[in-house]
């Protein structure tokens, strides 16, 4: 339960708002961080915390694209293919990236490592092709830098997995 595990953080979140209901976005982030995506139970937990109905929480999670509603890859790559980025070759880059990973638009690699989606403008048009990975921007991309990044992420994940195996996950 978020309530028990993150009592302090939740209290701090509530302190920021006059009305508990206003904390729904922050709590959704917390839930996503904890469970990997916004689970049904998480919606119920949050609804109970802020005094609303679970359907209303689900509705907010559904409105914003930064909330995941299904399990996704560990690295969630959102590539902007909107018009300005497309003019700088983002759509071609996106196709190549999908090919590199061997998945379709919106798909997840079989090892559960990467989910790739195309999204609308991320407000970094002048630095396209660009993507957002777990809410961090990576800009001025081409396939070489991308391959390097993929390798780096795979390595990182390996380290994480090992650390988890010995029960000592490094801090984010």
């Amino acid at each position: 339960m978020l309530k028990d595990k993150y009592a302090d953080r939740i209290e701090k979140i509530f302190a920021k708002y006059a009305d508990k209901r206003s904390a729904v976005m922050s709590l959704l982030y917390l839930a996503q961080e904890e469970y990997g995506y916004v689970t049904e139970d998480a919606c119920a937990e949050i609804a109970a915390l802020i005094g609303t109905d679970p359907t209303q929480v689900r509705s907010i999670a559904g409105f914003y694209t930064m909330f995941r509603e299904e399990p996704k890859g560990r690295y969630w790559l959102q590539v902007c293919t909107d018009l300005p980025c497309a003019l700088r070759g983002a759509d071609k880059f996106y196709e190549e990236l999908l090919q590199e990973l061997g998945i379709e638009d919106g798909g997840t690699t079989p090892d559960g490592m990467f989910t790739v989606e195309h999204v609308m403008c991320l407000a970094a048009c002048d630095r396209a092709p660009m993507l957002q990975c777990n809410f961090h921007y990576h800009e001025h991309l081409d396939m070489d830098t991308m391959r390097a990044l993929i390798a780096q992420w795979r390595a990182e994940a390996g380290v994480l997995a090992e650390a988890a195996a010995v029960g000592d996950a490094p801090a984010e």
């Binding site: 109905d53 359907t55 209303q56 689900r58 509705s59 559904g62 409105f63």
Partner: protein
Amino acid sequence: MTTTVTIHIDGVPYAVPDGMNLVDAARIYAGVEIPIFCYHPKMKPVGMCRMCLVDLGFEVRDRATGELALNPDGTPQVRWGRKLETGCTTTVRAGMYVRTRTEQVQEARRDVLEFLLSSHPLDCPVCDKGGECPLQNLTMRHGPGTSRMAYDDKLHLDKHVPLGDLIYLDRERCIQCARCVRFQDEVVGDDVLAFHERGRRLQIITTSTPGFDTYFSGNTTDICPVGALTTADFRFGARPWELTNVPSISPHGPVGENIALSMRLDRDSGGVQVIKRVIPRQNEDVNEIWISDKTRFGHHFTLSPDRLREALARKRGELTPVALDDALKAAAKALKEAGNSVGFIGGPMTSNEDFFALRELAAHVGSRKLGLWPATLGDAAPAAEVGIASGSRLTELGKGDAVLVVASDLEEEAPIWFLQAKQAADRGAALIVANLRETKLDRYASRTVRYGLGGAVGFLDGAASDETLAQAANLVVFVGNEGLGADEHGVLLRAAANLLITTGHAGRRNNGLIPVWPGANTQGGFDLGFESAATRAMLQSAPDVLIVVGADVAETPAGAAALDAAKFVIALSLFPDATTAKADVVLPIQSFAERDGTFTNAMRRVQRFYTAQGPVGESLPAWQVIGLLGQRLGMDRPRRSAALVMKALAESVKLYAGMSYPALAEAAVQTPPIGISPGFYGGTAAAPTGGTGLQWPSKAESRAKLSVTPVEAPQAVHAGAGELVIVPLRRLYDRAPEFFASAVMHGRIPQPFVALHPSDAARLGAVDGGRVKLSAGGASLDVTAVVDATAPEGLALLPQRLAPGAFPQEPVAGRVEPVAEAVAAD
């Protein structure tokens, strides 16, 4: 009074109330229809669909002098807005100019429609709403004739999404107006619907537990401006143009919801007229445009195969089908022998005409035993004295007013009043809910009062000193009988009258007492001289002949005993039940759908219902059966129509003077008019055709001098050692045949249960979900225990009419014992 201002619509000046919604003002005062989808006069405007775009301007005034700036031709200068604005989010004010017919406005409407249709499936030929669909109608009127959208580009979404047991959602048809979402949120207060995702993919969802299962869910299918929401009952049932809407009144509960029965000749039912659906009929004095799901879906009993179709009489001890004449003959013979030792008991769906016929028969045989069922009600005189004043509207209560609810679970007993009390609180009225347990209305209460068994009278007696109540501009008091004995109920009604008199609220519009009676025509029974107390007397000492009309008297042990004690029982009934099983003659009667009649609701409004379908079997209206019986005893022939019975009734019952059928058929103007025709607001509520009824004035309104009668609470029931007090509750969904015949509702009717406080359950060894045996007054019931922390300690809360078997209907001391579960043999 609001002030009136002048606005110009399409160049014509109109006087309209300042601050009124522009869409309403244009519709009501100028007859100009600004097309809408999302706006609904019963909910706050949200400006979501953009269908109501208009050109808005204001007259120009000179800053320095405040003088109107004029054009050279002497007309006032108007500064028009640069963009169109949504009419539904605009309130009118002085100097406003509106254009609704410019090329720009027409183009906007065309574009909005083209946009809405860009992903609409256009499956009107198989859509329930087709024919009464605002999207269809407005597209015909304002839309583009063709689409520029390739069909393959349409986004396809799920078409059969159950939102709970009763409502289906077609996601493709939804035009995202949020009427359903807002209804659940604003009107009902149960936030279980919402939107998910956005843009074209925006969809209605519910992920709550329990999901979309309020007592009002069907109303969303009325107000949905497309065929996105349909009921499990009516889905694919008929096309709207095949239906004839027959005005009627809900036979369920004391509110008297105005409804229309949508009738069609139905092949599957043997080519007869059947009710395909029940829709609300607008009456702003009663149910506005809302009905409960019980009223909407609880109509199947009218054609239930279980209905009594022929007369029965006892032959060699067995009830046997006989010709109606023979049954009447046997009944008349018994009546002749009984002299004046005859008693009459009318049930909750007995119409005024039926009560009147009984009364005439009683007078003929010289009996004054006029009883009302159930036998649990107190004296109704206080309701006649200070009952809510005529012309009152619960929808007008708000800031500065107070609503007091005592001893009633309004949501279960009168769902529409629950909505109206809740919304009065939303508008700022003080809502005080007093009961011996928690009820759903507590959520919206400004104050809740908890009293113990026998404490209701004491609370209400002291309420006059409560500032909120004493100083309320208007005060409405709902009084039920939950947890009360019959006498205590009478005293509580009297205490409510005292409160209204002492605080000076009696007799004023929007003030008064509303008794939460159990039946659709309990009030009518009282008006015609029938009393619950008379029934109790007959249960004590039974007359020789008992005539029972639409009342399952055998549902209580005392009632069953009285039926046994009477020498001869004549039962007029819709269904065979425990009472008819004990009768000597059984006569089938017609339901509200097969005959004309009137019910008087608990706000004393006499309302007509009309014949919609043919008779079932040999059944006749009860008044006619009684008349035929009277004829055999030497009375005149029965009157030829219900209208003539009502005429005689109005001549002999002073309260009903002038209430002829034509007078009752007059429809008061509804503002705003939300009916299917003219259809402007969209939705399937019927217009008030058929009449909105007439209210008889309470005594207080005639300035009669009213005096306070001191009250004293009768002794409360006490539980002996090892006992609990078993408190019967009225629940909306029960297993009475008049409701249980609707199979579509079975999933929503609970298994027989009793609610126990955790400490009582622990002491008795009852576990949640385990079986227990309740015994009291020589009767026993086998039910499931529900351990419920909101149940008061020492009480066992028993919803009525769930478990088969007779059981007392007043609070009674009794035993609750766990039943050892039989171990299944393998």
